[in-house]
Amino acid sequence: MIFTLILGFVLLLIGIYGMLSQRNLIKIIIGFSIADTGIHIIIVSIGYLRNRTAPILNSAVDISKAVQQVVDPIPSALVLTAIVIGLAVTALMLSFVVELYKKRKSLSIDDYQELKW
């Protein structure tokens, strides 16, 4: 559905905007996860076909005509993987933040620029 596609892109942009504009490390990661959600919505939207059901071939679907009745299963499969990977990355990022905070007691990204040039 086109609305969901647009929604996905808007969320993606909001997320990236968050990553670019927020100083707080946790907020940056929130931005990242919003962007991630946006991507996931985009992927699922791509697999959507009008007036079709989920690709689960139970009694609700006529098996012989399944190809004409279900939505695309591939994006669903992809997005499942993407969600799990997103979680992994987010969790790792957060643990980095925790460790960084332990070292310098600051959540502002501006305080971590000792490496430069």
Binding site: F3, L11, V70, Y101
Partner: protein, 83 residues
């Protein structure tokens, strides 16, 4: 048609939530708002005919991720108290 309306409504809420999440000073509230986005996303997945994704998003995207965020925040704040 109903699904379109639902999607539009949900979409607007999600976008607003996204903007709010980024502007909230309170990190706890921000995290929970961001979690809400994922939760609403899973409803959208259901409407789009992907119950598998919906389940995953609800449990991982909104559930676990939020919890991990909260634990991380908790750790950071504890770190503050320790000193």
């Amino acid at each position: 048609m109903i699904s379109v309306i639902m999607i539009v409504v949900l979409g607007v809420i999600m976008i607003v939530a996204g903007i709010i999440a980024l502007h909230l000073k309170n990190l706890l509230a921000a995290i929970i708002t961001a979690g809400t986005i994922s939760l609403l996303a899973s409803v959208i997945y259901l409407i789009l005919g992907s119950p598998d994704v919906a389940m995953t998003e609800a449990s991982i995207g909104s559930g676990l991720t939020t919890i991990i965020f909260l634990y991380a925040l908790n750790k950071v704040q504890k770190e503050d108290k320790n000193d």
